[in-house]
């Protein structure tokens, strides 16, 4: 039994870590701007594409990786300046539509550049190697992801709780206008948020595509949506919430992928039920349930609307 379930849990933890890194970007941006950054998943995908092209240009990997991360963060910065900043005073819906527009643009741009073909992600040595862990064979990246995720999250939490920019972020997310009156330069705070968020998405793309090996213009959409669901699940605006939500969703999704085999081997169902179809749907069902039962998520702050 354990031998059947364990590989799924293992890959669930790995995917969960990758979702967590993306989810942080969503949750930070939402915490500050109250904007669902629909383009975040596509930035994640673009980061993968940049890596493909950079490795193809013959640059050594030790140079590629930091360069990809910097470029990804730069893209996040530019997107915020071009597409969201002009709409800051507009109704919330306008900014969200702009985010959808950016997502559409990024996807089409990548479609144009790649010709809509699957791009093979370069093999990063060491983390692409195979290891055997408690009887399950997997890639090193599976083991590295959760550890790296936790290190990055701890670093981020320290940054937010103990530095000046972190304090500014907290202030802006609490009250936009008052923090402006207190002399916080909100433009730079918002830009920093985007840079951090997209940087983490870049790290996630390194890990995720090492695992899945191909990138296409639509490969950012699903992980992006799921990471967003994770952020909502954990309580949007809360970083630990997003991380926990991401791990839960990652594990649940992978267990459902193998549910047919697990249940079959446990003798509960007589034959395959094709339940793996629902691995994506389950995430969204979870989202609807959590929103219906506890709209602010697991760790979200309760807000009261004043009339």
């Amino acid at each position: 039994m354990w031998n059947t379930v364990f590989p799924y849990i293992l890959s669930g933890i790995s995917v969960g870590g990758q979702y967590a890194l993306i989810a942080i970007g969503y949750t930070m941006v939402y915490g500050i701007l109250r904007l669902i950054n629909f383009a975040h998943g596509d930035v994640f995908m673009v980061s993968g594409i940049i890596m493909v092209y950079m490795a193809a240009s013959g640059a050594p990997l030790w140079l590629c990786i930091p360069l990809v991360l910097i470029l990804t963060a730069l893209i996040g910065f530019v997107i915020e300046r071009v597409a969201y900043k002009p709409l800051r005073t507009a109704p919330r819906m306008s900014a969200m539509i702009s985010a959808i527009g950016v997502s559409y643009t990024l996807q089409n741009l990548v479609l144009y550049i790649t010709g809509g073909l699957n791009q093979i992600y370069p093999t990063i040595p060491w983390i692409s190697d195979s290891v055997t862990l408690f009887g399950a064979t997997t890639k090193v990246v599976t083991v590295v992801t959760p550890i790296l995720t936790l290190i990055l999250v701890v670093a981020l939490v320290l940054l937010i709780n103990h530095t000046k920019i972190g304090m500014a972020m907290r202030a802006v997310s609490r009250d936009f206008e008052t923090s402006q009156l207190m002399g916080i330069k909100i433009n730079s705070v918002i830009s920093t948020t985007f840079v951090i968020g997209t940087f983490l998405a870049g790290v996630a793309s390194l890990l995720y595509f090492t695992n899945y090996t191909t990138v296409i213009q639509t490969s950012g959409a699903m992980p992006g949506l799921k990471a967003f669901v994770a952020a909502v699940f954990g309580g949007i605006g809360s970083i630990p919430g997003a991380v926990i939500g991401a791990f839960i969703i990652g594990i649940a999704e992978n267990i459902i992928k193998g549910l047919d085999i697990i249940l079959f081997k446990a003798g509960i169902i007589p034959g395959p039920m094709g339940l793996a179809t629902f691995s994506d749907a389950f995430t969204f069902a979870l989202l609807i349930i959590i929103l219906a039962v506890k709209p602010t998520g697991l760790f979200g702050e309760k807000t009261t609307d004043k009339v």
């Binding site: 597409a83 919330r92 539509i97 559409y104 219906a292």
Partner: protein, 374 residues
């Protein structure tokens, strides 16, 4: 807009607008008899009619009621499947459902009954999903409806439902727009109607939505959009109004889905992605959130631009001996997305803002009068 609230009688501007629409229909009918039926114009008109209906239905929800729903693709999928499932001729069923021994449904409904059923099925699902989802606020509602569309997409691809939905295989061989053409005894087409009929269906549905928007119910919806709390204080029942608006919008999205099925001639669940919803949302935004006329115009523009006018961007073009750089497959979509971003960022009100065709005509009339009096 306040000016219009007490307007009961039909004024000349409304009549002129109706006449314009009628003229367009007649023009389409004549064009269809004269021009070859393979002309791009008809493809654009057919797809445009479909998208116009879906865009207007989305506008009813997002623009007039303020329910920011992103579930349109899901409702279209339901509509398309219900239409497909009930209209495939019994003879062809063994062929279509080849992996599920002919499928479960062994009868055929008339086209229009099936379309109605498509709408009703979508509305029913909207009712179900509305129970938990409609209590949510703006962006949470958006993401929940988006999630619902994804769930529906997975459900329709489930192998166990194969005898009904054909699993992940496509539905085909059901009546399409071309079956609206009237054929003579020898099988030759005598009267071409394959473009006019979809335009008529879409026109009737949009007409119904316009009547709804101008009714007391429609005004209550606008009140909800502008200020929920104030509307509630004035005696508008929020929950029931929102639910009804959501269901009606989904009904028409379902009918639109059935039309899309007819346009595409095949249906496959995996093509109803969130990208489709985004596309329709962008149409609504370009046309102007809260304008039915705007949604219609922008649907046709969007479809014409993406299927027809900008096609040349996808091929190599030569001006004399100079090969225009950048032009290759996919460039059209890049140009297109940039146009969309410009509209979203700089022309936030879209083509029409919240105005309708009669409003514009009234503006012209007033300007004329003003000019004469001077």
């Amino acid at each position: 807009m306040e000016r219009n609230i007490n307007r009961k009688r039909i004024d000349s501007a409304t009549i002129i607008s109706a006449a314009i629409v009628l003229c367009l229909y007649i023009a389409v009918f004549i064009a269809e008899q004269i021009l070859p039926s393979t002309s791009m114009l008809f493809t654009v008109l057919k797809k445009g009619a479909t998208y116009a209906l879906v865009a207007v239905s989305m506008n009813l929800c997002n623009g007039f009621t303020g329910i920011f729903s992103l579930g349109q693709a899901g409702f279209m999928l339901i509509g398309a499947y219900v239409y497909g499932i009930f209209t495939i001729p019994v003879i062809s069923r063994a062929d279509v459902y080849q992996y599920y021994s002919g499928g479960l449904v062994q009868f055929t409904l008339p086209v229009f009954v099936a379309m109605l059923l498509a709408g009703l099925a979508a509305a029913f699902f909207a009712f179900l999903i509305g129970l938990p989802v409609l209590r949510l606020k703006s962006d949470y509602l958006a993401i929940a409806t988006l999630g619902f569309a994804e769930i529906i997409r997975a459900l329709f691809q489930w192998d166990k439902l194969g005898p009904v939905t054909n699993g992940s295989n496509m539905l085909r061989l059901f009546p399409t727009f071309n079956d609206f053409n009237i054929r003579g005894a020898d099988g030759q087409v005598t009267v071409y109607l394959s473009t006019l009929v979809p335009l008529l269906i879409s026109g009737v549905c949009i007409g119904a939505i316009i009547l709804l928007i101008n009714s007391t119910f429609g005004r209550a919806l606008k009140a909800i959009r502008d200020d929920e709390i104030a509307a509630e204080a004035m005696g508008v029942r929020l929950a029931s109004h929102k639910r009804l608006a959501f269901c009606i919008s989904s009904f028409f999205a379902g009918v639109g889905g059935a039309m899309l099925a007819m346009y595409q001639t095949t249906v496959q669940a995996k093509s109803f992605t969130t990208a489709m919803t985004y596309e329709i949302l962008l149409i609504v935004v370009i046309g102007g959130i809260g304008s039915v006329t705007g949604s219609c115009i922008s649907s046709f523009l969007f479809v014409a631009a993406s299927e027809w006018w900008l096609r040349f961007l996808d091929q190599k073009q030569m001006i004399g001996n100079f090969e225009v750089p950048l032009l290759r497959n996919g460039f059209r979509l890049v140009v297109f997305s940039i146009i969309i971003m410009i509209v979203v960022l700089f022309f936030r009100r879209g083509i029409m803002g919240t105005r309708e065709l009669p409003d514009i005509i009234r503006g012209w009339q007033r300007k004329k009068k003003g000019g004469a009096s001077k």
